[in-house]
């Protein structure tokens, strides 16, 4: 179908976009459009106003300062995927982005758009949660920095006001020799994940697991961190048995089933994804290959 009628507004700056958002009733932000345009065409949404933020240069930067990778909300997924800076600092981003839609959608789709859309199967919100990223949000009167865990409001719902705009996301970087693993199972290339898991590991000086983070997509209504599994792994020597029992904690997650897979099936797939991601993160950790 075709989109319902709306008025179009091209914002040229963050204050202009936020101003429009606070003045106009029933307004939606148009970022990369790879979900919103489909929802418009299917008439799932009927905004009276669309505010296009594609021509706001200040939302378009990638830079690293003081151990933090900051990516602007409107940076295209394909640019992150192919960014030498991002690859060196946070290689899991590039690895996971290969699973995000297809080349044509990654050419348009953005980081901020994916975080605000917050599909439970989506890779980028899961990675932001994995990193404990900070989401920068601009409103009409103030800006605020929100931890990703708090930014996740519920099923496909970001904790963001109707007059607020995501401007950038900060990923606190792990050590240069951290290990990373990202595994995903989908029915077809580029489809939404049945389940996916991202893992980051830093080894302690004695070779044991030091810092560890695990996040899972596609199982619960929102991406989740596996706190229990992380605690099981911390300060332990890595082994297949340990990874298997840590991964098994997925079975106690809340899960939603749909036409693509039952809740029980999604959890079983998640177990396998976590185990695989743990294995590859552990293999890469501390060998300097993760630079």
């Amino acid at each position: 179908m075709k989109p319902p009628p709306f008025e179009y507004h091209l914002a040229r700056s963050v204050p202009e976009a936020v101003g429009l958002l606070s003045q106009l009733p029933n307004a939606k932000v148009l970022a990369g459009g790879q979900s919103l345009m489909a929802m418009l065409n299917l008439r799932y949404v009927h905004p009276d106003h669309l505010i296009d933020i594609n021509r706001i240069p200040e939302l378009d930067g990638i830079d690293i300062q003081d151990g933090v990778l900051r990516i602007g909300a409107m940076v295209r997924q394909r640019r992150i995927e192919t960014s030498a800076e991002a690859r060196a600092a946070a290689p899991i981003l590039c690895e996971a982005l290969r699973h995000v839609g297809h080349r044509q959608t990654r050419n348009r789709g953005t980081l901020g758009g994916s975080l605000c859309h917050l599909d439970p199967s989506a890779e980028l919100p899961t990675l932001a949660l994995l990193y404990g990223a900070t989401v920068h949000v601009a409103g009409p009167d103030r800006t605020r920095a929100v931890a990703m865990a708090d930014f996740i409001g519920g099923y496909m719902t970001a904790s963001i006001g109707p007059d607020e705009l995501v401007t950038a996301v900060d990923f606190p970087l792990w050590t240069n020799d951290h290990g990373y693993g990202f595994s995903e199972f989908a029915r077809r290339r580029g489809d939404f994940a049945i389940a996916a898991a991202g893992v980051l590991i830093e080894r302690a000086s004695d070779g044991r697991i030091g810092k560890v983070a695990i996040a899972v997509a596609g199982v619960d209504a929102v991406p989740v961190r596996l706190g229990e599994a992380e605690a099981m792994l911390r300060h332990k020597a890595a082994s297949d048995e340990l990874f298997a029992s840590a991964a098994e904690t997925c079975l106690s997650l809340k899960a939603i089933g749909d036409v693509h897979g039952s809740a029980a099936y999604r959890k079983k797939v998640a177990v396998a994804m976590v185990r695989r991601s743990l294995a590859s993160a552990c293999e890469r950790a501390g060998r300097g290959s993760a630079r």
Binding site: K2, Y8, L10, M37, N41, L50, R103, Q104
Partner: protein, 161 residues
């Protein structure tokens, strides 16, 4: 704005139109400019038939507003053939390898491969499959499209060397 001025360069030619905001780029190309080579399949970003190049990058034209293309340079399947009427090497390879049957997905396949082979002139079959994963074909079973893409890469190679 209830109407938008759009000035675009499509296949080297400049067009200027005033359009309603909700018009997609795909419908703009087909109905405003009469460039019906760009096909519309699903209209929600799944089938890839409407893929065009926007400033050199492949994009689904059903997931962009015409208004957003203002100032952009767009390439569609109509722009592949040379002015002498000679098919583009990718088109010629599709022709020779039977890379199409009904032809509905073909414009999207071609435009996707133009970008992909530009970035990756010597792909493996697996890389080609990944590149066209966002383009659905219900006729060929994809094998012959992959064959055509690999052959097209060989045809394009000497030019780039």
């Amino acid at each position: 704005m209830r109407s938008c001025n759009v000035r675009v360069i499509v296949n080297g030619r400049t067009y200027e139109r005033t359009v309603p905001p909700r018009l997609t780029l795909a419908d703009f190309l087909r109905h405003e400019l009469g460039l019906t080579g760009t096909h519309i399949g699903c209209e929600h970003g799944v089938c890839g038939a409407c893929t065009v190049l926007v400033d050199g990058a492949s994009a689904r034209s059903c997931l962009m507003l015409a208004a957003q293309a203002d100032g952009a340079e767009i390439r569609t399947v109509e722009g592949l053939k040379g002015s002498d009427g000679v098919l583009h090497p990718i088109q010629q390879a599709f022709h020779e390898h039977h890379g199409l049957q009904c032809g509905y997905c073909t414009p999207g396949m071609l435009m996707t491969l133009v970008e992909f082979l530009g970035e990756n002139p010597k792909p493996t079959a697996e890389e080609v499959r990944d590149a066209i994963s966002g383009n659905l074909c219900r006729c060929t079973g994809y094998h012959r499209i992959v064959d055509a893409a690999l052959d097209a890469a060989r045809r394009l190679a000497p030019r780039e060397g």
